[in-house]
Symmetry: C2
Subunit: 135 residues, 2 copies
């Protein structure tokens, strides 16, 4: 198990605060690049590498949620705590958090049945919300 060392408590820096705020302000999920672009547009001089690093850190501690979009990019969002999934609009990005308690039970059952341990899953839904369906 080779895990990268990460300081117990990261330092409080201006950049880190700005990035955290940027993620909190956005509606749905956004990639590191999108967040970086928006910050730049808003006058911040934070570097792209820092945005990547910081978002990864925030995701590792669960402070933000990270998902992989269908085209392979990683997107971040501030979410409510606890296990949940997302229903994401393909065109506008609007995101609804949903939880499927019965799924979690089934997953455990399936895993046991097949003899698999430490089973994790990532489930996201992509659709078109009412607003966008109109246009």
């Amino acid at each position: 198990m080779t895990s990268i060392e990460r300081p117990a408590s990261p330092r409080h820096t201006r950049q880190r605060a700005e990035i955290r705020q940027a993620v909190e302000e956005q509606e749905g999920f956004a990639t590191a690049q999108e967040i970086h672009d928006r910050m730049r547009h808003d006058g911040s001089g934070v570097g792209l590498a820092t945005v990547y690093r910081t978002l990864q850190g925030l995701a590792a501690t669960g402070e933000v949620d990270a998902i992989r979009t269908p085209d392979g990019q990683v997107a971040y969002r501030t979410c409510s705590p606890g296990h949940h999934h997302h229903l994401i609009c393909r065109s506008c990005g609007r995101t609804v958090e949903v939880s499927i308690p019965s799924l979690e039970a089934q997953v455990r059952a399936l895993a046991a049945e097949q003899g698999f341990a430490e089973v994790e899953h990532a489930l996201e839904f992509y659709g078109t919300c009412t607003e966008c369906a109109r246009a």
Copy 2:
């Protein structure tokens, strides 16, 4: 809706046959690069770009399943027809197909509830199989 034109019926070529066979022979999921490497190792001279193109085509018609691994790469595998999910061993790659009928119903219900249309989902499970848990 800009969809890339794809010929109704692709031509039958030696390369296409080789690639299809390579995917069928493998145990679990493999990336285009892995498949290409194995083919090369077995004496095939098929180009990497062709492997990528062909696998994409096969996935588009449902002849093979394509998933995105946790680290963002696309992996392919020959599967049984119909909607199903995968329980994949993180270390050895062994894959078990599973279906969760109740999930599909819940998805439709959730989508309707939130006013989302054309909802798609991708759900894969990653765990450690019995064999690998021992080692």
